[in-house]
């Protein structure tokens, strides 16, 4: 009777998950799982490795690193919102040199695949970061966080202007190993995300990461002032998921073959499936980690199960499946076997 009170919950891998080929292909980089962490929600992997084997997921996407060490913004840096949260950290970080020696080296020793997220205030800073990363090992891909204010353009965010976004990507591409996949992380705070995607693709981006947080704000009813010290912050979590799915859908529609990492409020395998069906080749899970530190592995297993239940033999078969012509929809159940062969 007493043992029944102590439930450990299902342990990873202890229940048989039907076989599905979960290999994700990101522009030639083969990942054993399509589930990645999201930049800024996994630091550099160490902390999460206490809760699940970080080598078992697709990759760790590290917190955006800048050239110099950076203190970030004052507190409060965070506010809980309905099904989400606002953050205004201000890219606190160790700077690229310490990151390479300390974090990247650890990730490589650990055997984790790593996508390095970089951020800068000028095009030149991005170029220097790319050049620094060119000479180190253990980088599977670079994700370029272009949701930063451009100090040379009155603080206009790179990601919100097609030309600024393109100049950053061009600079990163030029200074990176030609074989290094470059993903541009796009902001949803634009009128037409497809035109920004088109611009970064023309500039040489291998793929896109969709989406970054949405700009939001909370007023504290007690102090009657903005709650965050940084006034505004990035909204993340399940609250933004429909926006993210829409962005992935629109970009997949415009670019049938572009590698897309989908993200925004993924909490379960079914959420991840939505992104895959909308056209994502892989997904990043972010804010859910704050709620459930072992979520990345759980979501991988739930996604695998969800794919199997729908008759998919491989993840690749499900990518963009929601875009199939409507006449197929009528008899989806009967046709599944045919489609996935």
């Amino acid at each position: 009777m007493t043992r029944a009170l102590i439930s450990q919950g299902p342990m990873p891998g202890d229940s048989a998950v039907p076989f599905v080929d979960m290999t994700a292909d990101l522009a030639g980089v083969e990942l054993p799982s399509p589930v990645l962490t999201a930049s800024g929600c996994a630091a550099a992997g160490r902390e999460l490795d206490q809760f699940f084997d970080i080598t078992s997921i697709g990759a760790i996407v590290t917190k955006s690193v800048m050239l110099q060490p950076r203190s970030g913004r004052p507190t409060p840096r965070m506010a809980e919102t309905p099904s989400g949260m606002l953050n205004s950290i201000g890219l606190q970080g160790p700077g690229i040199d310490r990151f390479i020696d300390h974090d990247l080296a650890w990730l490589a020793d650990r055997g984790a695949r790593t996508v390095v997220s970089i951020a800068g205030g000028t095009v030149d800073e991005y170029a220097k970061l790319a050049a620094r990363l060119r000479i180190v090992r253990g980088v599977s891909a670079i994700e370029v966080n272009i949701s930063c204010p451009n100090v040379e353009d009155r603080g206009q965010v790179f990601a919100c202007d097609p030309n600024s976004a393109a100049s950053v990507i061009q600079a990163v591409k030029r200074h990176s190993d030609p074989r290094m996949p470059i993903f541009a992380k796009l902001s949803p705070d634009v009128t037409d995300i497809v035109s920004i995607a088109a611009s970064v693709v023309r500039a040489g981006a291998t793929g896109v990461s969709v989406i970054n947080t949405l700009l939001g704000m909370v007023i504290n009813a007690d102090t009657m002032r903005p709650h965050l010290a940084g006034v505004t912050g990035g909204l993340s979590g399940p609250a933004i998921r429909p926006v993210a799915v829409r962005c992935v859908w629109q970009i997949r529609q415009a670019f049938p073959d572009l590698p897309i990492i989908g993200m925004g409020g993924i909490r379960t395998g079914l959420d991840a499936l939505e992104f895959v069906l909308a056209g994502a080749n892989a997904v990043s899970v972010g804010t859910v980690v704050f709620h459930d530190p072992s979520a990345p592995l759980r979501i991988h297993e739930e996604l695998q199960r969800a794919l199997a239940e729908r008759g998919f033999g491989s993840l690749a078969d499900a990518v963009g499946y929601a875009h199939r012509p409507p006449d197929v929809t009528a008899e989806v159940d009967d046709d599944l076997d045919f489609i996935t062969e």
Partner: protein, 285 residues
């Protein structure tokens, strides 16, 4: 190393203005040291409240019919804590812990003064027991705005050589603040270490009192956290390192217990200009 477990509510009971929540926490209670904390998932798996709530571990039992169990003390401040105190026996709770760096214990048999503000006294019980086991003299000061908001006075009285109580309204003990009585107590018992948990202004003053007497202080801070495990960078405060350099450190990972003389108390909530990587020319871009 922290673990994530599905625990269950064993008991929830009122204690003055607070509630004490007892949970099964197999694998956590065995590893717990005084000053460690846990985070609890709020609202179940489909919750709209994504952020876990952090609580200092009050008591643990690592053996017995339920395996490991632990107690936390909850003050209801909002929707999340309200949800927690509305739980019933056998309800599941997702627990992560033990987290953070615990109190550092003295190697020698020195006199220790423990200071708790409000339910900040919660982690001091285990600490008092362990200090006593080491042969340290333990004196305790508890303070709150009013009698109802004191936590655990009776039990701490058993563990301590002396217990001094202060309340802002004078409803119990001396009228005033814990830091009003602390200097005299420190001098009387020749206190070598002060351990404190409570609101930031109290911790700041405790650290000052200790420093004035060349005593050590170990302060457990309360900062708003999102993840509790060191990945989100929301719970930072300015800490001076051994090298004299100020860094914004995470209270969940490098804390919650800091040496009082390392914390730049007056500048908590800001980025002091000489912090490593501090913004220049009008703020971070």
């Amino acid at each position: 190393m922290p673990v994530q477990v599905k625990g269950q509510v064993l008991d929830i009971r009122r204690a003055g203005a607070y509630q004490v929540l007892s949970l099964t926490a197999p694998g956590i209670s065995e590893l717990t040291r005084p000053g460690h904390f846990v985070t609890l998932g709020i609202g179940g798996e489909e919750s709209s409240m994504l952020l876990r709530r952090a609580f200092a571990i009050h008591q643990v039992q690592s053996r017995g019919v339920y395996g490991g169990t632990l107690d936390v003390v909850i003050g209801v401040h909002g929707k999340g804590t309200r949800w927690l105190v509305d739980r019933r026996r056998h309800d599941p709770i997702d627990i992560v812990g033990p987290l953070g760096r615990p109190f550092v214990l003295p190697k020698e048999r020195v006199a220790c003064v423990l200071v708790g503000g409000g339910y900040g006294s919660a982690p001091l019980f285990m600490l008092a027991e362990q200090l006593r086991e080491r042969g340290c003299r333990v004196d305790v000061v508890l303070g709150a705005s009013t009698e109802e908001k004191l936590f655990g006075a009776l039990e701490l009285k058993r563990l301590a050589s002396t217990l001094t109580i202060t309340t802002d309204d004078g409803s119990l003990g001396e009228r005033g603040r814990v830091t009003d009585v602390l200097p005299e107590l420190m001098d009387r018992v020749d206190g070598a270490v002060v351990y404190a948990c409570g609101p930031m202004p109290m911790l700041q003053r405790v650290a000052e009192v200790a420093q004035e007497r060349q005593a050590y202080s170990q302060c457990a801070v309360e900062e708003a956290m999102a993840c509790g495990i060191g990945v989100c960078m929301t719970c930072v405060l300015p800490i001076v390192g051994e090298d004299g350099v100020t860094r914004m450190l995470r209270s969940c990972a490098e804390g919650p217990v800091f040496r009082g003389d390392r914390v730049r108390w007056a500048e908590v909530g800001t980025i002091p200009p000489d912090t490593l990587g501090a913004p220049t020319e009008g703020g971070h871009r």
